[in-house]
C-alpha cells in the first residue's frame, strides 16, 4: 500500500474542511495512532454512523474532533464512564475511547479498572507518551523512574504503572501494546481489539518530544522513535529472554485474549429472559 493510497483512506474520515490545522506538535505520535485507528475501522468496514469515539482530556482528547464519526470529548479521566453509558444505551454501536496515560491511569484509573472488571464492550486506546503534554510536561503515572519533568525537576521518584499488567489483572478480554514506530503491528492489534467483544485495551506508545523528550536526553523526535525501535520486542521473544536481559526491553504484541461475554451481552441475556417472546429482539 503506497502512502498516497493510505492518505486517501484517511481523508475520507477526517473532518478536513472543518477543524484544521490540528493542535499537535511536530514529531508527535498521536496522529499516527489516529491514522491507524481510521485504517482499522476502514478495514473492518464499519459505517461511520456506527462508530462512537469518546475521548478524555489532553492532547489525545483532542483527536476526537478531527474524525467524522460520532465524537464525544468528555471530562478528564471520564471517557470510559461516558462510553459505558453509550454502549449500554445502544449496544449496536462500536464505542472506542481515546485516552492519554494521565487520563486513563491517573484520574481515570478507577474507571479503567472497573470497565475491565465489568468487561463492557468498549475498545480503550491508551496513548502513552509518559507525560502530561497539554498542561506543560508534568509527571504522569507512566513517567519512568528517574525522568526529569516539571513536577519532578530532581528526577521521578515513584514507580510507573504497567498498563498491560493493570488491564490484565482487572479482567479485560483483550490486552495489547504497540508503538507508533511499529505501525503495521499497531494496526493489526487495533483491528483485533475493535473486533473482539468485551473490553479491549490497546496501549499505544507514542512520543512527546516537546514535553518529555527534550528534557530527557532525546535530542530530536527521531531519537524517540529510535528508542522505540531499540527497546520494543515481540512479547513471544520477550518471554524467552532470561530475566537479566529483560530489563530495559518493552514487550509489544497481544498479552491477553479472552472470550468472556461483554457486560452488555450478559445484561441483554438477562433482559430477554424476562420479556415475553412477542417483545423479544429489542435492541
Amino acid at each position: 500500500m503506497s502512502n498516497f493510497t493510505g492518505n486517501e483512506i484517511i481523508h475520507q474520515y477526517l473532518r478536513h474542511n472543518k477543524k484544521f490545522p490540528h493542535v499537535l506538535c511536530a514529531g508527535c505520535g498521536h496522529g499516527i495512532v489516529l491514522g491507524t485507528l481510521i485504517r482499522s475501522i476502514h478495514a473492518l468496514e464499519i459505517p461511520k454512523d456506527d462508530v462512537v469515539v469518546v475521548a478524555g482530556i489532553g492532547c489525545s482528547g483532542r483527536l476526537a474532533v478531527y474524525v467524522d464519526f460520532n465524537t464525544v470529548h468528555t471530562t478528564h479521566g471520564r471517557a470510559l464512564s461516558f462510553a459505558t453509558g453509550i454502549k449500554m444505551a445502544n449496544p449496536k454501536l462500536n464505542v472506542i475511547t481515546i485516552m492519554g496515560d494521565g487520563d486513563a491511569l491517573s484520574i481515570g484509573g478507577n474507571h479503567l479498572i472497573h470497565a475491565a472488571r465489568r468487561n463492557i464492550g468498549v475498545t480503550a486506546l491508551v496513548l502513552n507518551n509518559n507525560i502530561y503534554g497539554m498542561t506543560g510536561g508534568q509527571s504522569s503515572p507512566a513517567t519512568p523512574v528517574g525522568s526529569t519533568t516539571m513536577t519532578n525537576p530532581y528526577g521521578q521518584l515513584d514507580n510507573s504503572f504497567d498498563t498491560v499488567e493493570l488491564a490484565k489483572g482487572a479482567g479485560a478480554n483483550y490486552v495489547a501494546r504497540g508503538t507508533v514506530f511499529h505501525v503495521n503491528k499497531l494496526e493489526k492489534i487495533m483491528t483485533e481489539a475493535i473486533e473482539r467483544p468485551g473490553f479491549s485495551v490497546v496501549e499505544a506508545i507514542t512520543p512527546c518530544h516537546t514535553q518529555y523528550g527534550r528534557k530527557n536526553k532525546y535530542k530530536s523526535p527521531v531519537d524517540m522513535y529510535k528508542w522505540m525501535k531499540k527497546t520494543a520486542i515481540p512479547v513471544e521473544r520477550y518471554n524467552e529472554l532470561p530475566e537479566d536481559k529483560r530489563k530495559d526491553r518493552m514487550p509489544i504484541g497481544v498479552f491477553v485474549e479472552r472470550d468472556r461475554p461483554g457486560f452488555e451481552e450478559s445484561y441483554q441475556k438477562l433482559q430477554s429472559s424476562f420479556l415475553a417472546p412477542a417483545t423479544k429482539g429489542g435492541k
Binding site: 472543518k18 477543524k19 461511520k48 454512523d49 456506527d50 462512537v52 469518546v54 476526537a64 474532533v65 467524522d68 464519526f69 460520532n70 465524537t71 464525544v72 470529548h73 468528555t74 471530562t75 471520564r78 470510559l80 464512564s81 461516558f82 462510553a83 459505558t84 453509558g85 453509550i86 454502549k87 449500554m88 444505551a89 445502544n90 449496536k92 454501536l93 478507577n110 474507571h111 479498572i113 472497573h114 445484561y267 438477562l270 433482559q271 424476562f274 420479556l275 417483545t279 429489542g282 435492541k283
Partner: protein, 381 residues
C-alpha cells in the same frame, strides 16, 4: 382534571414514588452508586428496569462514573437519571457542568442528608440548596425542583423529566430524608392524565444539521448518537457546529443562549403552590418536608385570627421571583423556615429588598422543623 377512570393507589415511600414517576415519564436508563438515604431509588430501579424493554440499569464504580454513564445514555437517546445524597452529589458536580455545557437532558435526584462531609447519615437536612444552584464551576443556568410529600415526589419527577427534555438541560430534584422515607398513600395517574415531553429530534437531513444552532426557543434539536447525525460533543466552549472555539463572539453567543433558554421560560419553569396567600399579612415561604409543617402552622395561625399564608416552592431555581413579589404586595412579614443555616432565605431577601420583615427559622441538628416552631414565629408577626 376530571376523573375518567379510578386511579391506582399505592402505599409508597417517597423514593418509590420517584421511581414510579420516572418510569411514567419514560425513563429507561439508570446509572448510580448506592448512598443512604437515596438507595431505595437505585434498588427499585435495579429490579424494575431489566424487565422493561430497552430498560438499562447499571451500577457504577462511583458517583463520578454514574454521571458520566447517564450523560452517555442521554446522548444515545435515552431518558436517563441517577440518584444520590450529599457526598455523592459533590462528586457529581464536574460532570453535571458537562451536561449543562453539552445540553444533555437528565434528571439527578439528591436526597439531602445532614452535612457538610459525611455529616449526618441519615438525618434530614436541606443543606445542598445553594450547592444545587452553584455547585459546578462556571456561570451556568440550572433547574432545581423539590417535593414536600410522596405524591409530589411522583409528580415532580415527571415534571423534572419533562423540563429536562424540553430545555435540554440537567434537572436536579432535591428531596430531603423525611420526604424520601415517608410512606403514604399516593395515586398513580392514568395514561393521558399527565404530560410526557420528549426531546425534539432534528427533521432536516444530517448534512444540514448544526448541533448547537440558535433556535427560537434557544433549544437546538437533539438526535441520538447512532441515528445518522454525526457531530461533536464537548465540554469546551463550542461554536454552532459543536467545535471548540475561543472567539469572544462565539463564546458569548453560546453562554447567552444556554442562559436564555431557561430564563425566558420562567413562567413554565417556576412552580409554586399558593395556600391562602391572597390576603396574607404573614407569608411562610417553605419547600420540602418543611412546607408540610408550614401548612399546618398557617392553618393554626388562621384559627388564631392571623392572616397567614404559605408560598410553597416547588421550583427552587430559577428562584420564583414573580410569585414572591406578588405576596409582597400584602405581606408585612415573610417567614422562611429551613433545615439549613439560611440558604433559601438569601434568595427571599434578595427579592424582598427590605420591603417586608424576613424572619428565618434554621435547624441543622438533623431534626425536622415542627409546626409549633413555625407557628410561634408567625404569631410574633
Amino acid at each position: 382534571m376530571p376523573r375518567r377512570k379510578k386511579r391506582k393507589e399505592i402505599f409508597a415511600l417517597g423514593n418509590e414514588a420517584v421511581v414510579e414517576g420516572a418510569l411514567l415519564a419514560g425513563c429507561s436508563f439508570f446509572g448510580g452508586y448506592p448512598i443512604t438515604p437515596s438507595s431505595e431509588i437505585m434498588e427499585i430501579m435495579a429490579a424494575r428496569l431489566p424487565k422493561i424493554e430497552d430498560g438499562v440499569f447499571i451500577q457504577l464504580e462511583d458517583e463520578i462514573a454514574s454521571m458520566g454513564a447517564i450523560i452517555g445514555g442521554s446522548l444515545a437517546g435515552r431518558k436517563a437519571m441517577t440518584a444520590t445524597s450529599g457526598p455523592g452529589f459533590s462528586l457529581m458536580q464536574e460532570n453535571l457542568g458537562y451536561a449543562i455545557m453539552a445540553e444533555a437532558p437528565l434528571v439527578l435526584v439528591n436526597v439531602m442528608r445532614g452535612g457538610p462531609s459525611t455529616g449526618l447519615p441519615t438525618c434530614p437536612a436541606q443543606g445542598d440548596v445553594q450547592q444545587a444552584r452553584w455547585g459546578t464551576h462556571g456561570d451556568h443556568p440550572i433547574i432545581v425542583l423539590s417535593a414536600s410529600n410522596v405524591q409530589e415526589c411522583l409528580d415532580m419527577t415527571i415534571t423534572a423529566f419533562n423540563m429536562a427534555e424540553k430545555y435540554r438541560t440537567p434537572v436536579i430534584l432535591l428531596l430531603d430524608e423525611v420526604t424520601a422515607h415517608t410512606r403514604e398513600k399516593i395515586e398513580l395517574p392514568n395514561e393521558g392524565e399527565y404530560e410526557v415531553f420528549s426531546r425534539t429530534v432534528p427533521s432536516m437531513p444530517p448534512e444540514w444539521y448544526k448541533p448547537y444552532e440558535e433556535t427560537v426557543r434557544g433549544v437546538p434539536p437533539m438526535p441520538a448518537i447512532g441515528s445518522g447525525y454525526r457531530f461533536h460533543v464537548t465540554g469546551l466552549t463550542h461554536d454552532r457546529n459543536g467545535f471548540p472555539t475561543q472567539r469572544p463572539e462565539e463564546v458569548v453567543e453560546l453562554m447567552d443562549r444556554i442562559h436564555r433558554k431557561i430564563d425566558q421560560f420562567f413562567y413554565d419553569i417556576q412552580l409554586v403552590e399558593e395556600i391562602q396567600t391572597d390576603d396574607a399579612e404573614v407569608v411562610v415561604i417553605a419547600y420540602g418536608s418543611v412546607a408540610r409543617s408550614a401548612e399546618l402552622a398557617v392553618q393554626q395561625a388562621r384559627e388564631n385570627g392571623v392572616k397567614a399564608g404559605l408560598l410553597k416552592l416547588k421550583t427552587l431555581f430559577p428562584y420564583p421571583r414573580r410569585h414572591t413579589e406578588k405576596v409582597l404586595a400584602k405581606a408585612k412579614t415573610l417567614v422562611v423556615p429551613e433545615m439549613n443555616m439560611g440558604q433559601m432565605s438569601r434568595e427571599v431577601k434578595r427579592v424582598n429588598m427590605g420591603q417586608a420583615a424576613v424572619r428565618t427559622i434554621n435547624r441543622v441538628d438533623g431534626q425536622i422543623v415542627t409546626p409549633a416552631e413555625i407557628l410561634k414565629v408567625i404569631m410574633q408577626g
